[in-house]
């Protein structure tokens, strides 16, 4: 099964659920499903800013597995970080997300 994660809420969805559950499992190859992509809303986009340690681990997984990472463009512009994301990590909105996942569609979309 393939899933896509939408990180839509703040608080612990990135610092805890992603960084301490999902990401270590992906790094160990024991997450249980293939992750087609991750999309980040609002403050969760800070994880994609170049140099963020959690983001660096995510990018490493993405480079190894082909997993899509994408930030919400409007959220990034509001925070003035759209031009400071890890190289190769795009920003976009729903049409861009759907387009990017079209070639590798997930079976389930999980909103966290």
């Amino acid at each position: 099964m393939k899933v896509a994660y939408l990180f839509a809420t703040s608080r612990h969805s990135v610092s805890y659920v992603l960084a301490k559950m999902i990401l270590p499992q992906l790094e160990d190859g024991r997450h249980g499903v293939e992750v087609a992509g991750m999309f980040f809303f609002e403050d969760n986009n800070y994880v994609l800013v170049d140099g963020n340690p959690i983001g660096a681990r995510l990018v490493a997984v993405a480079e190894r597995t082909g997993m899509l990472l994408m930030g919400c463009d409007q959220c990034c512009y509001e925070r003035e970080i759209a031009d400071r994301l890890f190289p190769g990590v795009p920003v976009g909105c729903f049409p861009d997300l759907y387009g990017a996942l079209a070639g590798n569609p997930p079976d389930q979309v999980i909103t966290l």
Partner: protein, 133 residues
């Protein structure tokens, strides 16, 4: 006679351009263009040949909206020929913080503006009057 071009302070952050673009769209609503997937500009030209009004309808993409607003700000009060020469590079330079992969949205906005210039020269769509940045 020397000409004077009044250009509002640029560059501006993309988020600021987006807010200004949304406000402009509320203030001067215009119909969608022939292709709703592309932005559509309408221009007003003063007697001295300068761009006196710029209205546009962008797509819902915020990068495109910000680029349209930057084009509108750069074009206002310029002679039409000079405004028509605006480049993607010049418009992108007016947008601070633009995502690297979004430069093509700037090109889309510039192309839409050039279509409007061509329409205006051909006596195309009726222009808005009295609009300012």
């Amino acid at each position: 006679m020397p000409t004077e071009t009044i250009t509002p302070a640029l560059p501006r952050p993309v988020a600021v351009l987006v807010e200004a673009g949304l406000a402009r769209s509320r203030r001067v609503p215009i119909q969608v263009g022939p292709d709703c997937r592309l932005p559509h500009f309408e221009l007003g030209i003063a007697d001295d040949g300068r761009v006196s009004a710029v209205a546009y309808r962008s797509t819902s993409c915020v990068s495109t909206l910000a680029a349209c607003e930057a084009v509108a700000l750069l074009a206002w009060r310029r002679p039409l020929t000079e405004a028509d020469a605006l480049t993607t590079t010049e418009v992108a330079a007016a947008m601070t913080g633009l995502a690297p992969g979004r430069i093509e949205r700037v090109a889309v906005a510039v192309a839409a503006f050039r279509r409007a210039v061509a329409d205006t020269r051909c006596g195309g769509p009726e222009s808005q009057q009295g609009e300012t940045p």
